[in-house]
């Protein structure tokens, strides 16, 4: 990969950490679909008794920007008692791929 600052603009990573409960994936997926954000991959596990979900999504055709999505997910997280965050994929790609 060239050391360019041209990011693949649209891919984001949603992370959810907290107590497992009914409807987490549904709640996140609903926000994403409402704003036309496509889910590319989803995986979840229980780590040290903590529910952990990682979701990769494509914001190519999204009608909101990353900052707005971040706010929506934060609010939903508060409502469900979870920590939900979204970050640009580049931060992970840059760290782990040469």
């Amino acid at each position: 990969m060239p050391m360019s600052h041209e990011p693949r603009k649209n891919r984001v990573i949603v992370s959810v950490l907290g107590q497992d409960r009914v409807g987490i994936i549904a709640a996140v997926a609903q926000i994403l679909s409402t704003h036309n954000i496509n889910i590319l991959d989803i995986s979840q596990t229980i780590m040290q008794k903590l529910f952990t979900m990682i979701l990769i999504a494509d914001m190519e055709n999204s009608d909101i920007d990353l900052a707005t999505l971040k706010e929506l997910l934060h609010d939903k997280g508060k409502e469900l008692g979870l920590k939900i965050d979204v970050q640009h994929e580049d931060i992970f790609r840059f760290m782990h791929r040469i």
């Binding site: 050391m3 992370s15 970050q87 640009h88 994929e89 931060i91 992970f92 840059f94």
Partner: protein, 452 residues
């Protein structure tokens, strides 16, 4: 595709191990602001800084949100003021410090570096005026940082400058006595100063730099500490390998954010400074990395070797991760900003002498060290001379940022708050160095061959 483990590792680094971008520093050349009328010169400086750095803080905050990594400081460095102010018909450079302070406040940065002079071989009149203005500049402004380079491996050590800086440090401490000598925390005396360092208080924009540039400084002692803790059974080769890999990952963040910031601000990207910069936060400590390697307390015999391994591995890992590494790049060992160092001093494990030895193998020098208020200017100058000698002979950067805490003695504390932290007052030698320092002149440059 990224694995879940990789994604979680990154999230953990930020959330639990204090990984952050310590600073995005915009370097601005103000060489074109020189004018014989100091009022015009300062107006030009103010205009240029506020024009170029106007979007620095908003862009930094935007990147924080998008990438989910904290960017702790957004800062500015400028051309050493002595070089610019010299053209003005005035011998009072305080107004230049005031201008920098105002410009920094206007664009919302917490520190601006470059109230500086390069005097390793001798003084010009502008250098002298600047140095004379330092005590007032640092006590009467909030954001201005000063630095003076007194030695290089090519020129030797300007002992007149070293002596003068001993006096300046004393004056600065007295003028900011109501805040435990806080002014001295914003003053660095260098040997072999780098011209692209993004870290305060020693940042300035060197003369070989472009008009405007973005440099980043990464941090992450907490991440390295966790990695070292997890490898208790590994030998030194494996340990170095683990630190290298961790430094690589940390540096990649600096590279990404630096390039992104530069692109968005439409200025060239300069360098990533690969440094482990501790903060007073629990777990964000370089001393604790050394202790995790197997030392009971930082400062015990073996500390210099442990720090050498750490510093070298950090550089090696960082170099591969970025196209341009520069600045100071290594481990910082400030006392007041590092909870583990403070504990080591309190326990009697870490002395000024051991810190001096550690500076032979780390990236900077005696940093954020409080000494008794009654310490003489000559003793402080002698401490600077020792550090400069280490830098000059070993072809590395060394620096002294020392606070002779007014009215305080060994066992007392100075409290600066925030990232500057707090420091126990440490003892210095009770024997005088005055006759040595007062000789004056320049210690010749060292031999560059026949090294043993």
């Amino acid at each position: 595709m990224l694995t879940m483990q990789e994604i979680l590792e990154t999230i953990k680094m930020v959330q639990e191990e204090h990984l952050d971008i310590r600073t995005i520093t915009m370097g601005i050349s103000i060489r074109d602001c020189a004018h014989e009328n100091p009022k015009i010169a300062t107006q030009k400086i103010y205009d240029k800084i506020t024009r170029l750095a106007r979007r620095l803080v908003p862009v930094g905050e935007e990147l924080e949100r998008e990438f989910g990594i904290p960017i702790v400081n957004k800062r500015i460095s400028v051309t050493p003021i002595a070089l610019v102010a010299e053209a003005s018909k005035t011998d009072d450079y305080f107004m230049f410090a005031e201008t920098l302070d105002k410009a920094a406040a206007e664009v919302g940065v917490n520190f601006i570096g470059g109230f500086s002079a390069l005097v390793h071989k001798g003084f010009t009149s502008g250098d002298l005026y600047l140095i004379n203005s330092i005590p007032q500049a640092l006590s009467a402004t909030e954001r201005v940082c000063a630095s003076v380079n007194v030695a290089t491996s090519k020129a030797g050590i300007n002992m007149d400058a070293v002596h003068r800086m001993g006096e300046v440090i004393k004056e600065t401490a007295l003028l900011s006595a109501d805040r435990d000598g806080l002014g001295c925390a914003k003053l660095v005396v260098f040997a072999n100063v780098p011209e692209d360092n993004p870290f305060m208080a020693g940042a300035f924009h060197g003369v070989g730099e472009p008009d405007c540039v973005i440099n980043t400084g990464v941090s992450g002692p907490g991440v390295v500490k966790r990695a070292v803790e997890k490898s208790q059974d590994s030998d030194f080769g494996t340990l170095a390998e683990i630190i290298k890999k961790t430094a690589f990952k940390i540096t990649r963040m600096g590279e990404l954010i630096g390039r992104e910031a530069a692109a968005r601000l439409n200025v060239p990207f300069g360098i990533v400074d690969v440094s482990l910069a501790p903060t007073p936060a629990i777990g964000d400590s370089v001393a604790e990395i050394l202790e995790a390697m197997g030392l009971e307390r930082c400062g015990a015999h073996g500390t210099t070797a442990a720090l050498a391994l750490l510093n070298d591995a950090v550089k090696k890992g960082g170099l591969m991760a970025s196209s341009y590494v520069g600045g100071l790049s290594g481990a910082f060992i400030p006392v007041s900003e590092d909870e583990g160092m403070i504990r080591a001093v309190e326990a009697g494990a870490l002395s000024l002498d051991k810190l001096e030895a550690m500076t032979c193998v780390c990236s900077v020098g005696l940093d954020m060290i409080a000494v008794p208020g009654e310490t003489s200017a000559e003793t402080i100058a002698a401490i600077i001379a020792d550090e400069a000698a280490i830098g000059v002979i070993n072809h590395k950067t060394t620096a002294v940022r020392i606070i002779p805490a007014p009215g305080k003695g060994v066992g007392d504390y100075v409290e600066f708050g925030g990232l500057l932290g707090r420091a126990p007052v440490m003892s210095t030698s009770s024997f005088s160095s005055a006759l040595f320092v007062l000789r004056g002149g320049r210690i010749p440059a060292p031999l560059h061959s026949l090294k043993n």
